[in-house]
Symmetry: none
Subunit: 196 residues, 2 copies
DNA sequence: CCTGAAAAATTACGTGA
DNA sequence: TCACGTAATTTTTCAGG
């Protein structure tokens, strides 16, 4: 699949907000017809960008396991299999594998003897260290990642790329697509400051 | 809202698998009509059990930030505000607050100077320790109840899978692993009814 | 990617257990 | 209270351009 355009990103964002929103309503937002949105969503699914439509359930309203954060340092070469084991365990919701081989997971486990429960599931992998912490609060913000990184140049509005610059004025961070935009902006800013 | 019954749980599971599945199709699985499922879903939303319908996006196919795991130990009493700050930051997807005040978060951040990026967002909270690790792999398994809460066949006690059936007898929903179990059960049920 | 018609799903509402 | 039918409305799918 060729690269996603802004419209695709927009559609993903809208679906992240409400996955059951009608395609025609999405179409209105992005300036397309319903069928056109449907086509794009189909393409996104086939390309594997959309893995699934799902539901965010407030698990605190459900009786169920206690949420715990599992942090395990795994022997070299075994992180992959531990990750798979955890990922396929029903009670495990998230598994993050760090580049250094640490595996962090969030799971809902039966109360009592939580550590045993975890150790049991880790089986005979070489677990160098194991931390299990009770979790108090779980937040999830589904976002496709557009916002924060689609930084706009504070001067001209263009997208800020890796070549851009940043500066801090009056405690606020400003980003620019190039140094000339930055110069222009700071100039104006300083003149305003003087005036005030 | 009174406690959720097995049918509600089943509906949540089916929605977790595919949130755009038609209610009528869900109804077939759980032995209800489409409108009845719609009613229940509405109730679940109003009760806050369903927070939102959303989409699971494979972020590795999107250019965007680098996924990092942030682990911060926060000064007493400040965990709450740090959690809120992170949760409302676009690039942050997950925030887990441990009972001991440690805040763990998964975020997608711009490449380069990652630690600065994080520190900047943590502002002036008392951060006692801060770990930022590059993440290699992220898994998410949306599941509602976890294994231990799976439905049992009313006849034989086996786990009810997607191939199972459901029926409604005397206002109560019963679930079965297969149609022969269902036949056996309803037979016995009806004989009991006659007797009574 | 659009329009427009056919098919399907969702919602609204009255009825009954 | 909860679920079902039916009907009205909306949404999705499928042509053809």
């Amino acid at each position: 699949m060729e690269n996603l355009d802004d419209t695709d990103m927009r559609i993903l964002e809208l679906l992240a907000e409400d996955a059951r929103r009608p395609f025609s309503a999405i179409g209105e937002e992005v300036g397309l017809s319903g069928p056109a949105v449907s086509d794009r969503v189909t393409r996104l699914r086939e390309a594997g960008v959309i893995r699934r439509f799902t539901v965010d359930v407030d698990r605190s309203t459900l009786r169920g396991g206690v949420p715990v954060l599992i942090e395990a340092t795994i022997g070299p070469g075994e992180a992959g299999s531990v990750r798979e084991t955890l990922a396929t365990t029903e009670a495990v919701e998230h598994v993050f594998t760090a580049a250094d081989g640490t595996v962090t997971a969030l799971a809902r486990v039966p109360e009592g003897r939580v550590r045993d429960w975890v150790a049991e599931r880790l089986g005979d992998a070489t677990v160098e260290s194991l931390d299990v912490t009770l979790v108090d609060d779980v937040r999830w913000t589904p976002s496709v990642g557009g916002g924060e990184f689609a930084l706009e140049c504070a001067e001209c509005g263009n997208t800020v790329t890796a070549e851009g610059t940043s500066t801090r004025l009056g405690g606020e961070a400003y980003h620019f697509c190039c140094s000339s935009c930055e110069a222009k902006f700071t100039d104006r800013y300083e003149r305003l400051e003087e005036g005030a």
